[in-house]
């Protein structure tokens, strides 16, 4: 069917009467359906549009898409991480373990416990939580290169993570946001890259941040929580 045929074939009553029925004569159907989008006449006419013949160009383009490499990812293969920065290091941790991102707040230090990764206690909504240093655990030195889109201190936050019964708070230099990736996009960690910290990584993610391409180390939450538990003991 040609487009010309189609136009004569469709009775566009909604253009004549108006979708809200403000004009006279008013469509009696509108008393029941209120607006044309709820009307069967309207949806049937919409479907008729699909009875047109498809153009050759359209078919050629789509044939290529269908023949090409499969781009679709299954929902089950999609993971999501929160990307944050510790000093100069960009890190990712599964979104599911994140509970809260807070402004920096006062830390109550615990006597005789300095030196390991425990930094102290912190008040989160009336509950005292353990505050740890992820940088110390991973061997990331605090220090930022000025000029690399980094404004010192401005974006510093406290992050609350939890898994099963364990809950920890740690300060980060910046929280950038949530990134979704397909499982097969995760690259393996170079054996030499991260010293001992590599033990806690699930893989590296290639992440395009604005115009900069960065590599993000994605932490394995199971290994991380186990290490934190060992670290504060």
């Amino acid at each position: 069917m040609l487009v010309a045929d189609l136009e004569s074939d469709i009775d566009d009553c909604w253009n004549r009467i108006g979708v809200w029925g403000a004009q006279t004569p008013r469509c009696p159907e509108l008393d029941r359906v209120v607006h044309c989008v709820n009307c069967k006449v309207f949806s049937a006419a919409g479907r008729k549009v699909l009875d047109r013949a498809s153009s050759e160009e359209y078919l050629r383009d789509l044939t290529e898409v269908i023949a090409g490499k499969e781009k679709r990812k299954y929902e089950s293969d999609i993971r999501s991480v929160v990307i944050f920065r510790l000093g100069e290091e960009w890190l990712g941790l599964p979104t599911q373990v994140f509970q809260e991102v807070l402004k920096l707040r006062k830390l109550h230090s615990v006597p005789y416990r300095r030196g390991n990764i425990l930094r102290g206690l912190i008040n989160v909504r009336g509950e005292l939580q353990l505050c740890v240093s992820l940088g110390r655990l991973l061997g990331v030195v605090r220090g930022e290169t000025p000029g690399d889109n980094v404004v010192n201190g401005v974006y510093e936050r406290m992050v609350v993570i939890a898994r099963e019964d364990a809950r920890y708070v740690f300060p980060v230099s910046e929280v950038r946001g949530v990134v979704r990736y397909a499982v097969d996009e995760l690259l393996s960690v170079p054996a030499t890259a991260m010293h001992s910290g590599a033990n806690y990584f699930r893989g590296m993610l290639h992440w395009k941040d604005k115009n900069q391409e960065r590599h993000v180390g994605c932490l394995d939450e199971e290994l991380l929580f186990a290490a934190l538990e060992r670290g504060i003991a």
Binding site: M1, L50, A53, Y58, T63, I66
Partner: protein
């Protein structure tokens, strides 16, 4: 359950969406010479060759008209040995799905050997929708035509690939 609807003439039929992999537009299909009319040809689906069967030709004696609403439904077809195959079904007016409770299906009362794939019926918006069972769609003869040879070929290519690596 949810049915993906298609039409043959004025009549409506439905496929269980659990068996559907993807619905794609009616793209260009490579014809195969000297095969029955219902076999439209072979589709290049992301580098795999998938046979496409014309549902209209299979059920009545004419071919599907190529329109925007005529689409190819890719389904997972399982033969009697429960081996899954990807199969394309070209059908007209693939434009809607309906969600219906399993209890609303009624036996059709007609069992035709030639159309064993037609299952029970359900009444939706005043008209009858006939359920099509993908796994019973092909007769033994058709299945052999579409898949037996292919199975061997695929195995061969896999082996040669493995050897090449």
């Amino acid at each position: 359950m949810m049915l993906l609807l298609f039409s043959i003439g004025e009549d409506r039929y439905g496929l269980d969406v659990a068996q559907v992999v993807e619905v794609i537009p009616c793209v260009t299909i490579k014809k195969v010479p000297r095969v029955p009319e219902y076999l439209t040809g072979l589709l290049n689906y992301h580098g795999k060759s998938v046979p496409v069967v014309d549902m209209t030709a299979l059920m009545c004696d004419r071919l599907s008209q190529r329109r925007l609403s005529t689409r190819i439904i890719l389904v997972n077809y399982q033969d009697e040995n429960h081996v899954p195959h990807l199969l394309g079904l070209m059908a007209e007016r693939v434009i809607s799905t309906v969600k219906l409770p399993e209890s609303s299906f009624l036996p059709s009362g007609i069992e035709s050997e030639e159309a064993a794939f037609l299952g029970d019926v359900v009444i939706d918006e005043g008209s009858i929708v006939h359920r099509v069972d993908v796994n019973r769609l092909l007769t033994v003869k058709m299945r052999d035509l579409l898949f037996s040879q292919r199975e061997n070929n695929n195995n061969d290519t896999e082996q040669s690939n493995a050897g090449g690596d």
